[in-house]
Symmetry: C2
């Protein structure tokens, strides 16, 4: 069951038309390199689409929701009921992600990966509707939630594995089916976000296990712990980590530091196995389902816009399983959550935005779509020196 059955779904991008895209950028009416990060993004988008005129088509936001059994241990200052309440808020259009998705013309989809509540049948849509009718921003009233629920919340990872093998596999497969449905509807760029009271804790545990960073340096205030709450959270997570280490005695040696060497197949395989073990052990359902959806989105040739700390943890696990995924990812922002910057560094990722946001829901990803759009737009719409009759540099009269 832990076999790498999604392995090689995502080959690394070939250089393809990189040189041709760069040449097109360099002929635009601007000093070379002067659009900075937008130029990198334009190259990435062009490589993914193997095109000199890449477009962002029907961009979508996927927000995965799930609950965490460990909330009973007191890892969050919010009651777990807030997860389901916020799902209703998403459906009603009142959350921050609704605002930013509307503003950036993103199709918003809310996925129940494992909320510990039963939603009315009338609000549920099947997974295959992800591509179209089950949009939280659609004119339908009320909006619908994509029903991918694997179970009502994870088990409490302090005492036992959050998920079993079958549940983890279902998360991967349902995530993949959602990505396929989006691709079938014509979406070629997708942002990822999440909602789950307690899920910074699972993300912290994934980070410490997969990157070797000390647990205390991976645990932050989440949605708003005070000092005492932060201390309690650290102690609880230390217990969970101790349990994991006891079950996986080899885990502390892997990886040493930094990502596996390229071409070191055995190191890569060990990391992939470790990522599955860590996802099983800590969850959450929404994190694992994001990992599965990201891998399939890349396999479908989509650009993936990764939100904050928890979503980056899902990408971290997914990239451990499918290293080729990395080329398809844009990291939207660095959040205020402790550990996020280090996680991005480990992924060799530079975030686009630093607006000190720490809300989740995909809010940073939604805002970053305007930068992605800027990259595609300048590549497609700007005039070249030749078109515009503008002189190039005096010292470089080509």
């Amino acid at each position: 069951m832990t076999s790498a059955n999604t392995a090689s779904r995502v080959p690394e991008l070939s250089p393809g038309r990189t040189d041709a895209i760069q040449h097109k950028i360099d002929r635009k009416t601007k000093p070379p390199g002067s659009l900075g990060r937008l130029e990198e993004l334009a190259v990435q988008l062009g490589r993914i689409q193997d095109s000199l005129t890449p477009e962002v088509r029907s961009p979508a936001m996927l927000v995965f929701a799930g609950d965490h059994g460990a909330t009973e241990a007191g890892i969050s200052p919010y009651p777990k009921e807030v997860t389901a309440q916020m799902v209703h808020n998403f459906l009603n259009g009142g959350a921050a992600i609704n605002v930013f998705a509307r503003q950036n013309d993103l199709l918003l989809h809310v996925v129940d990966a494992g909320v510990d509540a039963d939603f009315p049948e009338a609000l549920l849509a099947p997974i295959q509707d992800a591509g179209d009718s089950a949009r939280a921003d659609a004119a339908q009233s009320p909006a619908k939630i994509i029903n991918a629920k694997v179970r009502r919340g994870t088990r409490n990872f302090v005492h036992e594995d959050a998920l079993n093998d079958l549940e983890l596999q279902l998360c991967f497969e349902r995530g993949a089916r959602i990505a396929q449905a989006l691709a079938g509807a014509g979406t070629n760029a997708v942002g990822f976000g999440e909602m789950g009271i307690g899920n910074t804790s699972a993300a912290s545990l994934l980070q410490t296990v997969l990157t070797g960073r000390a647990l205390a340096d991976c645990v932050g205030r989440g949605t708003g712990h005070d000092d005492a709450g932060l201390q309690r959270k650290r102690e609880i997570l230390a217990q969970a980590l101790e349990r994991f280490r006891a079950d996986h005695p080899d885990s502390a040696q892997l990886p040493a530091s930094g990502r596996p060497e390229e071409n070191d197949e055995s190191q890569a395989q060990a990391l992939a196995l470790l990522a599955r073990s860590a996802l099983r052990s800590f969850g959450g359902l929404e994190i694992a389902m994001m990992s599965g959806a990201m891998i399939e989105a890349a396999a479908q040739g989509m650009l993936i816009v990764v939100d904050g700390y928890i979503t980056t943890a899902a990408a971290l696990a997914a990239i451990a399983i499918e290293p080729g995924l990395r080329d398809y990812c844009v990291f939207a922002h660095v959040s205020g959550e402790q550990g996020h910057r280090a996680m991005l560094d480990w992924l060799d990722a530079r975030p686009l935005l630093d607006l000190e946001m720490r809300l989740g829901e995909g809010t940073g990803a939604a805002l970053a779509f305007s930068v992605v759009a800027g990259a595609a737009n300048f590549l497609n719409e700007m005039a070249s020196f030749e078109d515009a009759g503008v002189s190039d540099r005096a010292d470089d009269p080509d």
Copy 2:
């Protein structure tokens, strides 16, 4: 002529409804503070408009173009003709600023403050049309340029003052009239950008004189100098600074470091006079006209979105003249140009974006408008805990 005839046009913002705005933000369905910089922006916008429901109405971009006599000394690797060529590119919709203004629904206006070229009469619109018909993005073909030309380029600041008193005053007044025309057309948020071959040099000289930072640390590669070009630029600007110091023997002592103490009226007046002297001495026409337009935009109660290094230099001079302007300014991004970060620090300004852009034209400001829109939108559109039936924190059950 150097009397502070625009002084006190812009009183500092009163606290006004700050507490009420913050309370409204804190009742939104999100952890307190979790929208980071967007929350600060929402408060600023609400204070400027003295409203709990501030809006961004008919947002506009003003791009001021002007030439610099010092280009004959070799301060730029591009020929000065590029300034006029780029103005035509703006009118034809092919420049980066056209792309980003379209993307963000910004009304784009191009202003000839002092380009060293004659544009065809058919392309010129009077200043009073700034608010409406003279939009480079309007359906009219061809688009028009707002004719505010004070002279064809500045004098060469290496040998003499770039502008005389009358020319500087005309720049201020025409800039102010443009801002008034925009306000009359209903615009309440305006981004500033510029085009002028050689104008990083004028900006560097303004920075060194007004902030006391060593000239070498204010001079960067501009649009793309190599090492030899950078060295030549530094030597030329050192001559210009020497001339200025000889004419203004007191200038080196003012200000010591940092902005004037609050309530130190004589220090503030000295800095205001110095800003006028520096603008006269180094120009450019587009920089001085931006300074005048910013002051009037603030007087009209607009939010001002400041682009990169050169536009920030215009804000630096304008704030030296009218300290109250600072409260109305949003600093869009930190550019790749050396000296910009230090200039922002001196203004106690934190840029919204860091995308390593160094193109000018207002491109950073145009992209930052999406963040500004996000701030207004979340404040106006997000549900409160009460509206949404979402539980607040367990430890803070208010």
